[in-house]
């Protein structure tokens, strides 16, 4: 039995059933990012200098490309979910809200794709 009013059903009001997934992914990505961000900060602070060879050697070293790509993708995903919540809470004009949500989705998609691309370029070059 549904408790929804017929009019609400006709107007398609109600839950989009995407909220729980949004919430869960934000928490799971946070749990994964916790050790990854400690790892990144530790690694960056351990670099002896910021010369080209030091940085490229570090990015391409053993499993670093995997962890770096994972960190960038998860951080961009987490940022997309978080920014969406912030935009939905503070921007109430339909047009600007929609445009900002689109912008945030595109920006974070671009960050994820170009970050992984950069890491792969460095890692594959360091194999030769």
């Amino acid at each position: 039995m549904s408790l929804r009013a017929p009019l609400a059903k006709a107007l398609n009001h109600g839950s989009a059933h995407a909220g729980v997934h949004h919430w869960v992914v934000q928490r799971f990505s946070a749990l994964a990012l916790a050790p990854l961000s400690i790892w990144l900060v530790y690694q960056l602070l351990s670099l002896p200098d910021s010369d080209y060879h030091t940085v490229v050697g570090w990015v391409g070293n053993s499993w670093n490309p995997v962890l770096l790509s994972l960190l960038i993708v998860l951080a961009a995903w987490h940022a997309w979910l978080g920014l969406s919540i912030v935009i939905e809470d503070y921007v109430h004009t339909y047009l600007s809200k929609t445009l900002l949500l689109l912008l945030s989705a595109f920006l974070n998609g671009l960050i994820a794709a170009s970050g992984v691309y950069a890491v792969l370029r460095i890692a594959i070059r360091s194999l030769r």
Binding site: N12, G14, P48, I85, S114, V119, I122
Partner: protein
């Protein structure tokens, strides 16, 4: 597009039963640092892209991020990360239903502030006095 619900506190800001307490500020700063960290992530990716296009492009970038203002920006980003990390753990504890009691919430808030100050001081020491890169 279906209307997605707002965060519960949004319905009472300004008019509602919420009196200011420093735990509010702690929570809003979690959002502020979260937004700031998107810029930090963008910076990290730009740095990696610079390195991925070879030595010349990296060296062209380099003067910008080894300068003192860049070190200050990197340090601020690091402090934002340490803060967002610590308050994030606290929010994850809230999410499993732990720590809602007023005394517990205030105690964990103090704990978070202390942890942020200590870890940030350690990282700033490493960056500025020991001269760690970048």
């Amino acid at each position: 597009m279906a209307e997605r619900p707002l965060s519960p506190f949004m319905k009472v800001v300004g008019i509602g039963p919420y009196r200011w307490a420093y735990t509010n500020t702690l929570s809003i700063l979690h959002r502020v640092t979260g937004v700031a960290l998107v810029a930090a992530l963008l910076g990290l990716v730009i740095w990696l892209i610079g390195a991925s296009f070879g030595r010349d492009s990296y060296d062209a970038f380099k003067p910008f991020f080894v300068s003192l203002p860049a070190k200050v920006v990197v340090s601020l980003a690091l402090i934002a990360l340490i803060y967002h990390f610590s308050t994030g753990l606290r929010h994850l504890a809230f999410d499993i239903g732990w720590g809602f009691e007023k005394t517990t919430a205030r105690r964990t808030a103090n704990l978070v502030i202390a942890a942020v100050v200590i870890v940030s001081a350690l990282c700033l020491y490493l960056i500025f006095w020991r001269g760690t890169a970048p």
